[in-house]
Amino acid sequence: MTAERAAKNLPRILVIDNDLPIRRFLHTALSREEFYLYDAENGEAGLAAAVGVRPNMILLGLGLPDLDGLKFIKQFREWSQVPIIVLSERQREDDKVAALDTGADDYLTKPFSVGELLARIRAVLRRSLQHMPEPVFSCGDLMIDFDRRRVLVNTEEIHLTPIEYDILCLLAAHANRVLTHHQLLIQIWGSVNPEHAHILRVNISNLRRKIEADPSHPHHIITETGVGYRLKMGDRDSDKIH
């Protein structure tokens, strides 16, 4: 660690994963991009490092030998709101959903590419480093005016039902980050009722029809299968969401 870099006050990222090759890869990939990397190889060391280093963000592998990923998140969340991105495996949707519901902010499925990684990290960091929510959200042809409760697509105002508006706002507030079905249901309906899950889908479908250029090829509201939904901001780097 050079003094220069330390002085630049780069964002600090803590990687907690027991797989050495992954840590090495992340180290190489992310150091170049002006992040500062620390790593730990198990849960306890990770918690200790979090206290010592005070990272801006944590990349957490779910297969830790000593501490279950969920337990780590729970413990960590008791005293810190620092964002966590979990590194999970293919088709372990249940794990992803559980992690997100417990307090993680986003996820990546192994094997992933550097591009995806950076997109997510940036999205998460932006949110956390901001302290004030913006009054207007714009992304591509979509614009939301929170103050006046207006939504414009290609400068044309479109009419949304109250629930559709709430959903869109929630997604925008978490732009580029995934929201689980559970989180959406809790925030909007206050309870997790199978009936409401049904209604959520219908609403998403209707939303898409209203704001997407091609509802079959959505650019804004992306389905994270088995997990939830994500409002994608048209970032240069984030062209692969999977």
Binding site: Q91, P111, V202, R208, H217, T223, G226
Partner: protein
């Protein structure tokens, strides 16, 4: 008769070797029987047995006393001391407490050796077996060695000879096979003088009632003859053992030709003796022998009792080792000769005629006829002495035929009618011709009404004819004595015709029954041949037995330790007692129940379903008529049924085993193919990646930007391919293992397609993909994640197998309660005969080559779609290309489910 003197006897060493071999061979499961044989009561058999028992105990063998009667003799009691005696069973019977051996206790105790005195003994009623020798047989099959005592006169084949010698008819008999198959026979022998001395000293037990008979029995002449009999019988057995030895050693010797004997059986009291005599003869000659029952029309008219005797005789012959046959014919002599010729009989055994001479003139005795017509076959004539008291037969139920008035009334009517007619035509008719009318009447009566009414008709006809038409008219006097001839003729015709008719009818009836039985066996075997499962067999058997025998039937199959009822006729209920009888039949592989010698008090007869190797179950039958339980025919039929059933069951078992073996084999083949394919598919992309990386490492610096970029592009692509393959493999494994859990939720089809397309970026972005769906689509219950995988797999195929410029179409519609998704390309399609096979694991179309891919994609789709209860199929499109169509139900239940 052939003599044995020319044969070579083996040396004592050879005999010892044989004895050892026998001992080793007899070790398997069956207990050995050691018989202490004597020629009269009091020779010391029980004593000898107990002595031998003591010796064994001293050697350390585990020995119990099953049943020994000491009759209070001090010496016997002394020997009993210290031995373990199984307590006897007490059976109250008609006010008396009878003591019998407790068979179950001995079986439970499972000793190595059991001592059972008095092999010839009838058990008290209520016990499992009728005879003690059956108890002993059961002990032997349980693997227990048994020592027993018996007198020579109790053996079945010697009964007549003994009776001849001593004048005493022995009632208590034992089958000869016990003597023949016993492991060891110890002859206990003392000179008759010594025996008589013992008798006088009161050392021999004599029950009080038998004093007179015993005195008659214990005459010196008798004793000597009996002794000789027992010595001779034992010698025959030794001779037999030696011959068996010689046979196993293939020692050539002048073997006498194998005789085949035949004896005819009837209801005559002498048949029994004939049978026994033939048995003895057959033993001496070591010949096979046949017992034939010739059924004639006259015979079928005989009393029920007679027919029973015939059946009893046949069963006796069978138990003595004969092959039994029943033949239907008109002439006894013809049938006998015919049977003898066809079966290559060498000697026919007949009994000496004893009818008075004058009767012989009228009916030449059968013996003479047979002798005359026997041709090359020897005839052996056996003589019997005085008549005997018959053994009391099992009583047949008496049937009282109701007195049939109608027959007689009809005869009367006929005669009256004829009389009236004749009266009317009297001026025109000659009395001779009137007689013809009466004749007609008698014939009609004989044909239609039966024997007795026919005789009545002839009698009445004669009287009427005499009274009304024979001068002097209206009297019974006869002027022309020639009319007497007419009367006699009329009468005779009536009798003869009616007899013939009755015979013919009875014959026809017998034929019909036999034909029915044969037909029923045919139907059964036909039904069984077609059966592919045990349950079908059971149903077929029940149906056939019910129809053929007019009986109720129940079938048991073993279920673990017990027998369970798997099929039964309607209305048949069994209590636990019956179940126990069925159990016994199964365990001992022997018929039991009603009409047999074992457990006779049960209501059904139980036949084990057995093949040569094993017993597969039990069939219980309840017959309508009491008589059918005993008749040889019915038993034969039941045996045939049981055998057929067992064979069919065995066949099904074998074919199921063969099928299993085949399935196992097929699975192994598939696994091998799987491993080969996986190995290749894993290694290829890895090889590419390794190749690229190693080139970069070795000479990366020398490469220019483009080359580097190209290599890296390749490596990335191959790594992704590997990832996809591993994913497919995992999916397939999960589907195969039945571990697919469907998380069914109401999903948006548009979303589904969108996610699938997104997952295929960037490969699919260069292609033209159109998606059409109904303006309003309902939400569809499905597992979103899995169905996306399905669409991805199908679209990947489209990408691979259709030209880059060609369009890909996705269409979603509904059809009553189904969702239909179609994915179609304009590629080369699939050969028509392979359209079904595309969904098989590892199926790849041969062209184009090098398209890559695992062949698993579509089979995963099929697995997932079918787990949803849906359907997937492939079709070639008109105009070229492949269309894959998926149907999913719109009405499935939401929630998590297991796929089993």
């Amino acid at each position: 008769m052939a003599t044995n003197g020319d044969d070579i006897r083996p040396s004592p060493e050879a005999m010892l070797k044989l004895a050892k071999a026998e001992e080793a061979a007899a070790g398997e499961g069956q207990g050995k029987l050691k018989i202490f044989l004597g020629y009269a009561a009091g020779v010391g058999k029980t004593y000898a047995m107990l002595e031998a028992g003591r010796l064994r105990r001293q050697e350390g063998r585990d020995l119990v006393v099953g049943y020994v009667e000491s009759h209070g003799r001090a010496e016997t009691d002394a020997l009993l001391e210290g031995m373990e005696i199984i307590p006897r069973k007490t059976i109250p019977y008609q006010g008396v407490a009878l003591q019998e051996m407790d068979l179950d206790a001995v079986l439970a105790r499972k000793p190595q050796i059991a001592l059972v005195d008095e092999l010839a003994h009838t058990n008290a009623p209520g016990l499992r077996h009728e005879k003690r020798w059956q108890d002993v047989e059961e002990l032997l099959s349980a693997g227990i060695e048994v020592f027993t005592t018996v007198n020579i006169q109790h053996f079945e084949s010697l009964k007549d000879v003994v009776a001849q010698i001593t004048g005493v008819v022995v009632r208590e008999t034992i089958p000869d096979r016990l003597l023949d198959t016993a492991f060891e026979i110890r002859l206990v022998d003392i000179p008759p003088d010594e025996l008589l001395q013992r008798l006088n000293e009161g050392k021999i037990y004599i029950p009080d009632q038998a004093t007179q008979a015993i005195e008659k029995f214990f005459r010196p002449g008798n004793l000597m003859a009996l002794r000789e009999l027992s010595l001779r019988r034992t010698a025959t057995r030794v001779d037999g053992q030696m011959r068996a030895y010689m046979e196993t050693q293939s020692i050539t010797g002048p073997w006498p030709t194998m005789d085949r004997l035949m004896v005819c059986v009837s209801g005559s009291p002498y048949s029994e003796k004939l049978i026994r005599a033939t048995c003895r003869l057959a033993e001496e000659l070591r010949a096979t022998w046949f017992t034939v029952n010739i059924e004639t029309p006259q015979g079928s008219r005989h009393a029920r009792e007679n027919r029973e005797r015939v059946w009893q005789n046949l069963r006796l012959a069978e138990s003595l080792g004969a092959q039994v046959a029943t033949v239907t014919a008109t002439s006894v002599v013809d049938a006998s000769i015919d049977y003898a010729m066809r079966h290559n009989i060498t000697k026919i055994v007949v009994g000496k005629p004893n009818k008075p001479r004058w009767r012989e003139l009228l009916h030449p005795p059968i013996v003479d006829q047979i002798i005359r017509r026997s041709g090359p076959i020897d005839v052996v004539v056996v003589s019997f002495e005085s008549l005997e008291q018959q053994r009391p037969r099992k009583a047949a139920p008496k049937r009282r035929t109701p007195f049939d008035f109608r027959g007689y009334a009809a005869s009367l009517m006929l005669v009256m009618a004829v009389t009236v007619v004749c009266e009317l035509f009297r001026p025109l008719l000659d009395p001779t011709n009137m007689a013809m009318f009466y004749l007609l009447a008698v014939i009609v009566a004989a044909v239609r009404l039966g024997r007795k009414p026919a005789i009545a008709a002839s009698l009445l006809g004669v009287l009427a004819f005499d009274f009304f038409f024979v001068p002097p008219r209206l009297t019974f006097a006869v002027t022309d004595s020639q009319y007497l001839i007419t009367f006699v003729a009329l009468f005779t015709v009536g009798v003869v015709i009616s007899t013939l008719m009755t015979r013919a009818r009875e014959r026809a009836e017998a034929m019909r029954i036999r034909e029915l039985q044969t037909a029923s066996l045919y139907y059964l075997s036909r039904d069984l041949a077609a059966a592919a499962e045990i349950s079908t067999v059971m149903k077929a058997v029940v149906r056939n037995v019910e129809e053929a025998l007019n009986a109720h039937v129940v079938l048991f199959l073993p279920e673990g330790e017990r027998l369970d009822i798997v099929a039964a006729s309607e209305g048949l209920t069994l209590d636990t007692k019956e179940q126990a009888v069925a159990d016994w039949a199964f365990r001992n592989r022997h018929v039991s129940g009603h009409g047999t010698d074992t457990l006779v008090s049960s209501a059904l007869i139980y036949l084990p379903l057995q093949t040569t190797t094993s017993v597969l179950g039990v069939m219980g039958v309840h017959l309508e008529k009491e008589i059918d339980y005993l008749s040889t025919e019915s038993r034969r039929l039941l045996d045939a049924y049981a055998t057929q059933t067992a064979m069919a069951m065995e066949r099904i078992q074998f074919s199921q085993q063969a099928e299993q073996a085949q399935i196992l084999q097929a699975r192994e083949n598939l696994e091998r193919a799987l491993l080969n394919s996986i190995s290749h598919d894993l290694r290829s992309p890895l090889a590419s990646v390794t190749g690229v990386l190693s080139s970069l490492r070795e000479g990366g610096a020398q490469l220019d930007e483009n080359a580097r970029a190209e290599l890296l592009e390749t490596a990335c692509g191959e790594a992704e391919r590997l990832n996809r393959f591993v994913g497919n493999l995992l999916d397939m494994t999960r589907i195969e293992a039945g571990a697919v859990r469907l998380n069914i939720e109401q999903c948006d089809v548009q979303d589904l397609v969108g996610c699938a397309l997104a997952a295929l970026e960037p490969r699919i972005s260069t292609r033209e993909v159109s998606f059409r769906m109904l303006p309003v689509m309902p939400l569809v219950p499905m597992d979103m994640v899995l169905m996306i995988q399905v669409l991805v797999n199908i679209l990947e195929n489209c990408l691979k197998y259709s030209p880059p410029e060609s369009p890909i179409e996705i269409i979603a519609t509904t059809d009553s309660s189904w969702l239909l998704i179609e994915v179609a390309d304009r590629g080369a399609g699939v050969p028509d005969q392979d359209l079904k096979k595309v969904f098989d694991k590892f199926y790849r179309i041969p062209v184009p080559e090098g398209a890559g891919g695992t062949g698993l994609g579509l089979s995963i789709c099929k697995g997932i779609v079918e787990a949803h209860g849906g359907r997937i199929r492939a079709e070639n499109r008109s105009g070229g290309g492949l269309s894959i169509q998926i149907r999913l139900s719109l009405t499935a239940a939401v929630g998590k489910t297991h796929d089993s």
